[in-house]
Homo-oligomer: 96 residues x 10
């Protein structure tokens, strides 16, 4: 199942820089691992924002929640989840 | 350049059904043509809404506007445009 | 998969009363059929509103969309969809 | 009487982790006790959020307030309360 | 149980004046009857608005919904319902 | 003159508990004194919120402001003020 | 007592022009009469909008409502009312 | 003085096409005349919207209002006005 | 030129009381000086809020910005600026 | 390509003044350098706000993001990005 997810990161300005760097590094490794597994299907930066638009391809909402809530930056993100399905005019078979 | 576009269709309830059907048919043909050209790269339905989330791959904002504003349903759509760029953690070369 | 859905009905005031009654009657029959099938698991009225809060138990977002978009009142409803999953503190096995 | 309640938890990032853990543990025990008593009838996680959607079955708004305001995480939650009643199309006797 | 209700009336400008007058007359008679029964406990006009703030004293949300949804102007009102309970600092016994 | 006032209390989580208790105790005493004087005519808790809905009966907006702005919790409250007047359908003489 | 009032006029596009002109003419006469009486103390146009910002000097909210609700354009205006009082730093005696 | 203006055009779907065309033609002529006079200094289309962002260079808010309120499409536009002034980091003399 | 300005003051709760008092004292002196100069033409308190509504009479937006941005409380205020002009129905010559 | 950008700066009140001054100084130098390069084409202050409206002329959204996200005040700014294109009524060749 496909989910459209927008994540806006809001790091508190008094978070120690080393802690922030560490979080970002682990976040990045995790994001790339999930992309390689095909679960985090698309990942774009929103121009001008510390934010991304993503498409997840997961078994269900449970798997989505488990992936998102264990991201290192989860406590600092405002997240919007939108459930997607096939558009009758789509010509791509994998846009379910 | 990639743009994230959300389109919510709001047909007036007193629009003649034949007119609505005609608009939808032309819209569909146009959407599929643009997908085949690679300009309308992704197209998903938002579950529970007469709406879609799309990714456009166009030369610039001018081309995007020309494509969107000539869609048959344009006068009846609420559109949100978001400019995308490459996310540093993306592993896919075409997610510019 | 469980989805939380809120539907607010907004009938245009110039809709013919017979047409409105007909739509409501078919809507009701369809809602009860889906409840008997176990797909529309819960259905509550929101006090003071021509609106409901519902829980759907469906295979995925596609099935949800197919059910919602074929409801007779769909063109007159403002719908909000929220994907649910299991809460770690829930004691009920069917609250997936 | 049934109430629909959404709770969004917002823990301050400088709350001591042990204090947070303690609060969550007591919250969980209390939530399960109330579920066993039948007062907290349903409890779902909202996918991608540190939030839940719940249905409470209580004598009145007073009992609801007493239950919610004594939850350990109450000071850190944004809460939305919606009063429910029977939907004329419901087929379930306990959806009052 | 007490409910706080705000009602904003929005009559379509093309509603026939006689129909509007008739609706208002029946609404007024109904409102006064419910006040005499003690169910519509308070009723105030909001200065500058075609709107009111009311306090209802009813058995439960079901009775509230039955009263509100049968008001003649119900189809033309935007309604906000808020469940009340006793404030620990209140000195009035009937402010439950 | 009657004013409808909603007060939402937002205590900073790092406010010393003794300071918070002291503020609440003085607030309570002040609220009860104003109720006995007939100036704070009604006071209800909003179920599920650290908030109240109140009706003030004061000479004018100046007296209202003087009362509200000297409440101990004033710096921590989000306040909404709505001016009321007589509703033509009210049957109660004191609902001016 | 002083009230700050913002009025945004929204004339339906299918209102007959003669009817609109007539309403505006009567509105203007009434506004000027109230200004001469000192009740409509200030009246400014908001640049770029069919809207005004006004200060009313009336006995109470009742008089304000009676003035506003009998304006010919009242049914077509979105109105916001804000109760004013004396600012401790004001040097003008009539800014009560 | 410079003003930043955003105009969103919302033509009613039942406006006669010839009337709409006529309005647009006159609007265009007027917009170009004002640009040539230097009063409508900049004019950009917002991609994906029937809307523009403009910079006006006028004597004051009165002149701005006179220009905007006499545009043929004024009754069909939602307008947002923002007053600009010189930014201390600007290197362009005419960005007052 | 006239500008309508609303200022909502939000002092951080951990600001030292002496610092707050000092800021308010200087703010008050400055506000009264500007009133005597005729630049801060009106100043009202909004009942129930630590906020004011003001009318400024200045040469242009530049002078307005210079006045507002040098107020001692500027860093702690949420400010809304609205450009005013003459209302065709105004009878007061100085309501330009 | 042209982008319309609004930046609202929100400096935390407990940021050390020297640190704030340093950030502003570097920000200013960078802003002027980008203006000289023609990439930051316009820059205006919004009257009454610690905010600006800007027009950027860049190759694409990627370049815009790289410029914005490396501004010293980026972590403290709320940014809104709007993609522009040529308006059919514009008479200026560089308003693409």
């Amino acid at each position: 199942m496909l989910f459209h997810v927008r994540m806006d990161v809001r790091l508190p300005h008094d978070l120690a820089p080393e802690r922030a760097d560490e979080l970002k590094q682990v976040e990045r490794a995790r994001a790339q691992e999930l992309q390689r597994q095909g679960k985090w299907r698309h990942l774009w930066r929103i121009a001008g924002h510390y934010a991304n638009v993503s498409i997840f391809d997961v078994a269900d909402a449970q798997e989505l929640h488990d992936l998102l809530s264990t991201l290192p930056l989860f406590p600092f993100m405002e997240i919007t989840v939108t459930a997607l399905c096939r558009h009758p005019s789509s010509i791509h078979a994998d846009e379910r």
